[in-house]
Symmetry: C2
Subunit: 81 residues, 2 copies
């Protein structure tokens, strides 16, 4: 069982890294790009013997308490068997 | 039109950042986690007036030539209308 935890800045928070990438792309001639925002993804592999329900709780708690900073970031979790 | 470009280390490349996060999670009691690997995601917004076919080409080229380092990284692109 694998969780993909995506952590990105809240829409209201400025993303200077994304803006820098966007500016670089424009300079390189990628004119079709209007905006770039960068986020992180964690691929979290669950231990083979772990209880699935408990694993889900742990990954959700890890995302909320460790992987994301709730003041400026939001996260989403996608599960794969 | 929006592209989600995910850039991650190739499976054969060590991910010390992911390993550090995994070690921290284990120490914090998240015992169900067996492995963590970290990747980047870029949300690329296409300009309103851009030609869709040209925009797809540009985003693919940007992913290959700018956003990912083909020596150690691989990328995938998911499109959203």
């Amino acid at each position: 069982m694998t969780a993909w935890v995506q952590v990105g800045l809240k829409p209201t928070v400025l993303d200077p890294q994304g803006q820098a990438i966007h500016a670089a792309l424009r300079k390189l001639g990628f004119g079709a790009v209007a905006e770039v925002r960068q986020a992180k993804v964690f691929r979290v592999q669950v231990a083979a013997g772990a209880d699935p329900a408990e694993a889900r709780l742990q990954v959700e708690r890890a995302a909320r308490e460790v992987l994301a900073n709730p003041v400026i970031e939001e996260f989403s979790i996608r599960w794969e068997e």
